[in-house]
């Protein structure tokens, strides 16, 4: 399985990847994207099976990336990993087609809770 991790913070991308491994998902290919536009391009070139994306990023936000993907007909599973987890944002994410929203800070248990069943 190929997982695309999109976050404008390199440090946070490393933390997300490390947490994936701590949660037991350590046998998957990881692709990194540094903003929503990069993620959108890499969906086309890398064909990921799952996207874990920050929300608030320069160039293109995570929600804009998700909306662009769905508008283009892509149904790739998409989840947010973001510093905000208000009910309004969760609703907006769900309405746009996100499977889940993990609020930062998170740990491996949070990842397992949302990703078991999503990651084979």
């Amino acid at each position: 399985m190929k997982i695309l991790v999109a976050d404008d913070s390199r440090v946070m991308r490393q933390i997300v990847i490390r947490t994936l491994r701590q949660a037991g998902y350590d046998d998957h290919d990881i692709v990194e994207a540094e903003d929503g536009a990069d993620a959108l391009a890499k969906v086309g070139s890398e064909k990921p099976d799952l996207i874990l994306s920050d929300w608030n990023m320069p160039n293109m936000t995570g929600i804009e990336c998700l909306q662009a993907l769905r508008a283009s007909g892509s149904a790739v599973p998409f989840g947010f990993v973001t510093s905000e987890g208000s009910p309004e944002m969760r609703e907006k994410a769900a309405n746009a087609g996100a499977m889940f929203l993990i609020a930062k800070p998170f740990n491996e248990d949070t990842f397992k809770e949302h990703l078991d069943g999503v990651i084979a």
Partner: protein
């Protein structure tokens, strides 16, 4: 989502019932900021990483990171510490991926991401709707109204660190400033 928003979930009612500007001291207290910061440190920095609520005095060669909150209450959430402590924090966040020699970009990234996580959770307990800006790093924004500040001073690994939630009502944002990357709610 933290428990804080459930405790202090706000509908903006206070804003509607009064024209007086909101002061941060009416919206959040030091204990909540401390809890938010502790949760962020334990999850991101490490399980044994504690923030002791003890003032350590001004940090040498201070550097700050912050995120702006724009909404019924507008201001910034600022983390300030010494440059060497910021480097140590970066290593703690990167763990085995920390390079032998950290570059300034990594340090700014790590300190900014901590402000982003703390700021996002502070925003969650404030009246909405509001938007969160992208992290910035440098010299801390000035406090424009000392009455509109909630600040904690802590020690991390014996080094001074402060977190300030400070209003910017006296320095209204430029309406033409680029906020296109903020989260619309």
């Amino acid at each position: 989502m933290t428990a804080f928003s459930a405790d202090l979930g706000d509908t903006g009612e206070r804003r509607r019932t009064s024209d007086a500007p909101l002061a941060i001291t009416d919206l959040i207290d030091e204990a909540t900021v401390q809890s938010i910061a502790e949760e962020a440190w334990l999850a991101l920095v490490g399980e044994e990483e504690y923030l002791l609520p003890l003032p350590g005095g001004p940090a040498d060669d201070a550097v700050s990171s912050w995120v702006e909150v724009v909404g019924p209450w507008t201001g910034t959430v600022v983390i300030t510490t010494g440059r060497s402590t910021a480097e140590e924090l970066s290593r703690a966040l990167l763990k085995e991926h920390a390079p032998p020699v950290l570059d300034a970009e990594d340090v700014d990234d790590a300190l900014g991401e901590l402000a982003n996580v703390v700021g996002g959770n502070v925003k969650a307990v404030l009246p909405g709707p509001s938007a969160l800006g992208l992290p910035e790093v440098g010299n801390a924004p000035e406090v424009t109204d000392p009455a509109d500040v909630v600040r904690i001073d802590v020690l991390w690994r014996g080094q001074s660190l402060s977190i300030s939630v400070q209003g910017s009502a006296g320095a209204l944002p430029d309406p033409y400033e680029n906020h296109e990357n903020e989260v619309p709610l």
